[in-house]
Point group: C2
Chain length 194, copies 2
Amino acid sequence: MRYSKEHKQATHERLVEAASQQFRAHGGDGISIADLMDELQLTHGGFYRHFASKEDLYAEALTFSFAQKLTSLLEKVHNDGTTPPLKVLINQYLSLEHCANRVDGCPVAALSAEIARQPLVVRETFDQGLRTYMAQISPLLPGATETERTHNALVLFSGMAGALSLARAVADQALQAEILGAARELYTKVYCSS
Amino acid sequence: MRYSKEHKQATHERLVEAASQQFRAHGGDGISIADLMDELQLTHGGFYRHFASKEDLYAEALTFSFAQKLTSLLEKVHNDGTTPPLKVLINQYLSLEHCANRVDGCPVAALSAEIARQPLVVRETFDQGLRTYMAQISPLLPGATETERTHNALVLFSGMAGALSLARAVADQALQAEILGAARELYTKVYCSS
DNA sequence: TGTACATCAGTGAACGCGCGTTCACTGATGTAC
DNA sequence: TGTACATCAGTGAACGCGCGTTCACTGATGTAC
């Protein structure tokens, strides 16, 4: 073989990571396979040695996005010893920084609307990613039972994703900050009061 | 003239309404001008007698979507004399019916993610639509000042839009109902307890 | 009132472009002998 | 150890398709005389 086994795997992973970022930033229709391959300094023809279709890549990239965002969120939670974990999480999710960086942002905020229109395979991948996401977050939430904590996590995250998505859509920067601030305030009050 | 003045206006309005529904259901890239014109039983060439570009139509359709959704939400609020207005609003917004009917759904839930990637003109139209939307809804919300009520409206609506969008994305119907139910419960508790 | 002309919403072919996907080919390296 | 062959990640031209947009044209009706 021209390339080692590790080389193929590495290219595959680089593709998934690049796609994960570009899909979050521009949506599934917002970047072409040629653009992605360009980013890795490859030509578009080679794409199909790694994936059966663009949809295939989209699904893999989605899983990657969930995992990456989860890691980055929890990392900052653990690095802050003084502030309550959930408060760190909320402040980080609803920050101007997260709002500006769609590339590394939460896939729920960036993609849930378009995923509703995707084929079943993609939507099932989404379910799986969401469930893992929620399972890792729910321990930080109030609630007597796991069901209750998961429900709280689902509502908090869908709510924050909605606020983030709205803030990103809005043209007026003052309104953008207002949305994020108001959401931060309310979710902190509701979930961090205990 | 071949057609009366009213005829042109009528075609224009039919186009905006059809586009408003199709954009909400399929996203801005999800339907073509030819599809839209087909729906009105016209040919695609005539489109440019009514709009300078697809983007132009998108902006007009967005304004229409806000107005239509606002009307339909408030209508049901006023038709229910017994239940508290805000509770009617929440139950309606987070219903399985709204979840299933993207065509007549809230533009925030369907389009905010993609509007973040639209040109400034469209985003400014979105701002305007959102402000009107919020101004009409805020009187139903708790809060001592108008600012406080508007903040509450922004957080409630972005939160509900996020929950709706997530429920639509999810493949598992049980999870879908769980998300809507949990969100209904929390928002009712938080905003309707007074 | 009747006639010639102007208007313009709508028609449908055409253009240019980008996209997802296919395919014959390349050539460095692994493997068989 | 050295040589011939097989492999397959990556190349780049090509295909077919759908899309937004343009444009010369149509023809029913409004308007000028």
